[in-house]
Structures are given as structure tokens and as C-alpha cells.
């Protein structure tokens, strides 16, 4: 008879539970920091993508295409191992003093996600009728100011559900940071697998946590959709 017995208590108490808890915290830190950074970066890229100044628009376009069309795992490896050759030595030394694994993961996740966020924001902005921009320009606002005060506040309201979805993807994608040694949830589950051979229990617990995160975010989006965007129960216009 094989020694495999399903015993969830192994990962609910003691050392392994601590590992999983640490993993959860790292996952949440990693995703929330990257989320905030990716939002602001994505916002800027979206605006750059829509300016009338051609070089800037092209740059934004290339940025979007490149980061959307390469796998995250390759980007992670690139930032972690490849940056050594590219960055000047003082910056490398500085980064290596700290937790560079985490920093590289944040950088990779931020760039990757910002490209998707930029597209969502852009489609949010294009959903706002063009006349609004024309009206605000003719009432004396500059392009950036009318973006800031008139267009964006409306666009952001409608892009919140897709943005939260991106955050959800980001949280799931953060699991790939394990390949460069970031101690997030999947990494810890894998550690438990290889140290205690309790693979089933470890993955069960980790999966359960991921599902809880995902479902609570999904419920949030559904609630926002119903209560804020369509309070009267009408469909989107």
C-alpha cells in the first residue's frame, strides 16, 4: 500500500501552514504593488497611444504589441537574468542588496499587465463620444486638461470592471514568479511538495486560496456592475 494518505491537517498547522501563509502574503503584496504601478503605467500608455503626435503614438503601439505578445515567463527571466548585462553596475549592486527576486517580478508583472490595462482604458476612452472632447477643447481646455477633467473620470468608471478582471489575471499570473525564486503561494506549495511529499494537500490548499481570491473579486465586479453602473437594472447602453 502506498504511503499516500489524504491528510489536510499537515498543511493547516505548524511549519507548512506558516509557509503557505507567507506565500499568500507575498502573492498579495506582489499583485497589489504591481496592480497600482501597472494601472498608472497603463493609463499613460493609453493616453500616449491616442495623442496626435506620431512618434509617441508609435512608441506606445510598439510597447503594447511587444508586451502583449511575449510570454510572461520569458519576460520574468529577461528582467531577472538579462538585466545584469543591460543595467549599469551601481544599479545592479543597489538592486541586489535588496530582494531583487521580488523587484524583478514586480517589474515584469507591471510591464506585462500595463499593456493589457492600456488597451482596456483606451476602449473605455473611445466609448466616450468624441463631441465631449471637442466641446471641452472649444471651451478653452488643453488636450491633456480635457483628458484629465472631462474624459478620464467618465472613462475610468466604465473601465473598472475590465480593470478588476486584469487585477484578477495579475494575481493568477503572479504564480509564475516562482521560476525566479519569489516565495509566493505556488512556490511554497511546491516547496511543501518536495520537502514533505504532501503534494496533494499542498496544492489543494493553494488552489483553494486562489479560488477564494478569484471568487471574491468576481463577486465585487458583479456587485459594481449591478449597483454602480446599472443601478436601475438596465443593460449597458
Amino acid at each position: 500500500m502506498s504511503a499516500t494518505q489524504f491528510d489536510l491537517s499537515v498543511v493547516l498547522h505548524g511549519k507548512y501552514a506558516e509557509w503557505l501563509y507567507e506565500g499568500l502574503i507575498t502573492t498579495l503584496q506582489l499583485s497589489s504593488i504591481s496592480c497600482v504601478l501597472a494601472f498608472f503605467l497603463g493609463l499613460n500608455i493609453a493616453i500616449m497611444r491616442m495623442t496626435s503626435f506620431t512618434p509617441v503614438r508609435w512608441f506606445a503601439q510598439c510597447y503594447l504589441e511587444f508586451f502583449r505578445n511575449t510570454p510572461l515567463i520569458v519576460q520574468l527571466f529577461f528582467w531577472y537574468f538579462g538585466s545584469y548585462q543591460i543595467l549599469p553596475k551601481p544599479i545592479n549592486d543597489f538592486l541586489n542588496q535588496y530582494n531583487f527576486e521580488f523587484v524583478a517580478a514586480v517589474i515584469a508583472l507591471t510591464f506585462y499587465t500595463s499593456a493589457f490595462i492600456a488597451e482596456d482604458i483606451r476602449s473605455g476612452i473611445t466609448a466616450i463620444p468624441k463631441e465631449q472632447m471637442e466641446a471641452s477643447r472649444s471651451s478653452g481646455f488643453s488636450y491633456l486638461r480635457s483628458m484629465h477633467y472631462i474624459i478620464l473620470p467618465q472613462a475610468v468608471r466604465h473601465t473598472i470592471p475590465p480593470l478588476i478582471n486584469q487585477f484578477l489575471n495579475l494575481t493568477k499570473n503572479s504564480s509564475m514568479a516562482m521560476v525566479i525564486g519569489v516565495g509566493e503561494l505556488t512556490y511554497q506549495a511546491r516547496q511543501i511538495e518536495s520537502q514533505a511529499f504532501k503534494s496533494f494537500e499542498a496544492f489543494f490548499a493553494a488552489t483553494f486560496i486562489y479560488i477564494c481570491i478569484s471568487f471574491s473579486i468576481t463577486i465585487l465586479v458583479t456587485w459594481y456592475d449591478k449597483k454602480v453602473l446599472n443601478p436601475l437594472g438596465k443593460g449597458t447602453p
Binding site: P71, V74, V179, T186, I211
Partner: protein, 233 residues
């Protein structure tokens, strides 16, 4: 001036990046990446259609469990789905399953669940009146799906399908983590051996993926334009 990059590491190992250890060992590298992606795409088109149709089935005993499973899979990171496949598949078949098959199954199931959502949305985009009309002409529910609704719905879905396949191609890179010798794994192996050319290797790797994915992204955009044009006519 000396360049900071030395791409000779790519040309020296080009064959290994393309086909791995073949013919002295298993096929790997870019060829394996493309094979994995191709098989998974085909499987997930069918899987997605079936799951999508089951989700909107009027029989609650069929639709609810399927909806639950689809939502659970969509809530999980792909990496976890792959790890689970290593448990589930051997217990179903009772024997050994090669990693390639395991990864193909994981990718297909994962992508099917996402495609099923596209299918549901595509079917919902066809006015209900059409189903009612075709049922009243004597077709059964499934017949009207098969001959009336799906052919129209599929046309709207195609661009989203292609987008999903771009994700799938990118996702084959996760095979690296479970030891499938696709191009990312081969690149990492070369990186481990040569040690000082990481930037070149990963830039090249990103470039390869970019070309493949960009072709499909452009295809999806073109389809979106040309299909919407047809709809207007």
C-alpha cells in the same frame, strides 16, 4: 566600439533551439512549442464549443455542474491546472502519462473554459427570436443550434478565438516548469550552460514568441474588421 550583446550564442545553438535533441532524443525546441500549441488549439475549439453549449443547456443537472467546473478552472492559475493534471490524468487512465500529453490536456482544458465563455457570449449575441422561429418551423433545440444559431454566432466569435489562441501559444512556455523541452526550456538549458549571455538568449526568445503571436494578433484584428464589414452588408 564593442557591443554589449553577442548574438553568436544564438547561432551556435540555433539547431537546438529549433528541434531540441532530435534525432538523438525527443523532439523539442520551437518545433515542440508549435506542436503543443497546434494540438491544444484544435482540442480547445471543440472543448470550448461543447462546454459552452452544455453551460447554456436547459437541463439544470447538466448546465450547473459544468458552469461550476468552468468557473473553478477560470479562477485558478494555469500553473495550478497543470499541477492538478499530474494527479488527475494518471488516476483516470491508470497508467503513465508523458508530460507532453499532460501539458496538452491542461492547456486544452484551461483554454476550453475561456473559449466556452466566448461561445456563450457569441450565442447570446444572436437574437432570441431566431431560436424561437427555427423551433416553430419544427427543428429541435439542438438542430436550431447546429444549423441556425451557431453558424452565425461562430462568425462573431472568431476574432476572440484567435486572441485566446495567442494566449495559448504564450502559455505553452509554462511547459518549462514541468520539464517539457519546448523552446523556453531549451533556452534556459543553453542559458545554464553558457552562463554569460542571458540577455541575448531571452531577447531572442521573446522575439520568436513575438513573431508567432503578432501574426495571430494581426490576423484577429483583420478578421474583426473584415467580418464586421460583411455584417453591415
Amino acid at each position: 566600439m564593442e557591443s554589449i550583446f553577442d548574438f553568436s550564442v544564438i547561432s551556435d545553438n540555433f539547431l537546438q533551439l529549433l528541434i531540441g535533441r532530435y534525432p538523438h532524443g525527443p523532439l523539442g525546441g520551437l518545433a515542440l512549442t508549435l506542436i503543443l500549441a497546434f494540438i491544444s488549439v484544435i482540442l480547445s475549439i471543440f472543448g470550448g464549443l461543447i462546454l459552452g453549449l452544455l453551460c447554456i443547456s436547459r437541463n439544470k443537472f447538466i448546465s450547473l455542474p459544468i458552469i461550476a467546473i468552468v468557473n473553478i478552472v477560470r479562477a485558478m492559475p494555469l500553473l495550478m491546472v497543470i499541477f492538478w493534471m499530474f494527479f488527475i490524468l494518471p488516476s483516470i487512465t491508470g497508467g503513465k502519462i508523458p508530460e507532453n500529453t499532460t501539458v496538452i490536456c491542461a492547456l486544452s482544458i484551461f483554454t476550453s473554459c475561456y473559449i466556452s465563455q466566448i461561445v456563450i457570449a457569441g450565442i447570446a449575441s444572436i437574437p432570441r427570436g431566431q431560436t424561437e422561429a427555427s423551433i416553430s418551423t419544427g427543428l429541435t433545440y439542438w438542430q436550431s443550434m447546429r444549423y441556425i444559431i451557431l453558424p452565425q454566432g461562430l462568425r462573431n466569435m472568431i476574432p476572440s478565438f484567435v486572441n485566446q489562441f495567442v494566449s495559448l501559444i504564450k502559455d505553452t512556455s509554462l511547459g518549462y516548469i514541468v520539464g517539457v523541452s519546448e523552446i523556453t526550456q531549451v533556452a534556459m538549458q543553453i542559458n545554464n550552460r553558457t552562463q554569460i549571455h542571458s540577455a541575448e538568449i531571452f531577447i531572442f526568445l521573446a522575439f520568436i514568441y513575438f513573431i508567432i503571436c503578432f501574426i495571430f494578433t494581426s490576423l484577429s484584428r483583420w478578421l474583426e474588421k473584415s467580418l464586421s464589414w460583411k455584417k453591415v452588408i
